[in-house]
Amino acid sequence: MTRLARALGPVPWLLPAVALIGLVVLWPVVVLFKTSFQNISPDGFVNGWAGLGNFRALFAEPALLSVVLRTVVWVVVVVAITMVLGLMLAQLFNVEFPGRKAARWALIAPWAASVMMTSLIFRWALDYTSGPINILLKDLGIVHSLGTNQTDWLGRPVAAFIWMMGVAVLVSLPFTIYALLAGLQTIPADLYEAARVDGADSWRMYRSITLPLLRPAFTVALLINVINIFNSFPIIWEMTRGQPGSSTSTTTTFMFQLKQAFIGESASMSVLNFAMVIVIVLVFLKVTRWKEQVN
């Protein structure tokens, strides 16, 4: 085999994938960077270059800092709760019990339904006058009367944000649980046997066998969750529009708010988002020593 043939070897195998990624993912990124330096009218006409004007306008937004900080809270809290609950639930659903198959089926519901639909269900269920959740809370005596500030969860920024984080956890759990369940099944049962012979209790076995061996599956689920939660759009959009003001917005929904009329500025928000994604990727690569692993 000549050097050239060897160098070209991968081409037929990889070219379709590279072409598709280039066409659908990378090209739009380039367009977006360009847009962030353009001066664009609200109905889409390009009026020349804006230099750094869009970025200057973005950084002058009084809401920007709080939106960025809120995004960090959103990602960290949602992902942390998802992973912890995911570990617990994967363990639970790994136990053999009658009807397990049906119970596992129920778990996929939030995954099978689109996130947009799930968000709308919760917007409906949290309606302050007649949402089923509020009716239930009233029947339980937790809230006193319908149609009040107390039942208006989505009208109060902090309460709304907590509910939306809950929805985000719910829609992230199915994938997480299944990923971890798959991970659990790769752990040889004889390891547990051996440990039991040595007199280890369950907690100790969990810590020294399950958790370390679950690491690969855990890492994958973690990464996918971080990315999905960071980019999550429908939950906040359908439930509060990021309002009042921008007080329940994350960077993704904030970008959409801007996009209604401030297209260039919105593109620069996207660029800022990319920068944050790159940072997350770098941290991920560092933490998981990814490069060593693929080789």
Partner: protein, 416 residues
Amino acid sequence: MKRTLIGATAIVAVGTMALSGCGGSSSTSSGKSGGTTTLKLVAADYGTGPANTSSKYWASVADAFHKANPTITVNVQVVTWANFDTTVQTMVQNKQYPDITEGDYFSNYAQQGLLYPASKVLSNPGNLLPAFKAQGSYKGVQYGMPFTTSSRTLFYNKKLFKKAGIMSAPKTWADIQTDASKIKALGDTGFGLPLGSEEGQAEALLWMLGNGGGYQNSSGKYTINSPQNIQTFQFLKKLVAAGDTEPNPANKMRTDQWQQFAQGKVGMINGSPALVPIIESAKVLKDSDWTSVPIAGKNGPLTKTLGVSDNVAAFKTDGTKAAAIKKFLDFTYQDTYQLKFDKEYDLLPATTSAAKALASDPIFGPFLTALPHSIQYPSDTAWAQVKTNIQQNIGTAVTGDPKTVLDSIQAKASAN
């Protein structure tokens, strides 16, 4: 009816237009063959379902027109409201211009010379309601022709009023305050105040008008943080704090509040004719249970209210179809078709003659008397951005400090 698009549509519609304005082939078919002319009409869908889709309305108009003018065929494409902007903008981007659009009107198309002035495609442009002329004009020439309009009035629930022992319709802010607190005592919402992004710019303006304020002064300068406007929001803030409105109006949507009113749970709300079918379909309030009156102002009812219009625009395409378009628009703007449209969708006419014909209608009368004196949204190029900013932030003026919020909206508006 510049509706606020729900879902991500607006954003996407506009956002996706960040294009260099080129692309696509410029194949403008002349639409002429064998002495006949074909007109392409793109219209927004006002229907709520297949039963009353605007396709039906336009098909009947186009058929009748074709019978009268066999050499001209009108092809109608009806697009849902949510997609109207994107559809038209995409066509323009691709230079596949429609001949006529009915729905939102884009002033920059006039600016770019793509449109016929009204005087070229209508025999009697003077019959169009003059109140909407400025909004469709560029440099003093009218391009956007109002086709259907609506104005805002104050709806109130007579049943709740009676139950609360209120004898007369609210006329002043003080009335609103006392009436709302009486209704609140019954366990219902006194005043429905949707200040969320969906329609916050309309609600805010209606209140500003009540105190002699508004978005712009007479010379077209933005005056969002004028003392009158600040005072208005200080009043609203008090109203909200007293619990006389729904909880947390800052992010409440109009759709939800109208629904609440239709369910009989709200005492008063600002509405347009579009609220009428919602009340009817909810089947909770009888016709005698509610009514609509001029909007209450600080010291008395408004003499001028917010009026909005959807417009017809005629594209030049290859420049040969002006005569055909004129024939069709003259036909369409007849009172018969104006009234048919308005009856079907609970909207108001856009011509003086049709408005006169409808003036005695018990439901539409109050809206119509308000129409000729109506105030419009600003029509300058900055408005799109100002509006977005108002929709996003105006609600916080009743939770935070009114002056600070209005100052910051004004700062962004005058920066343009």
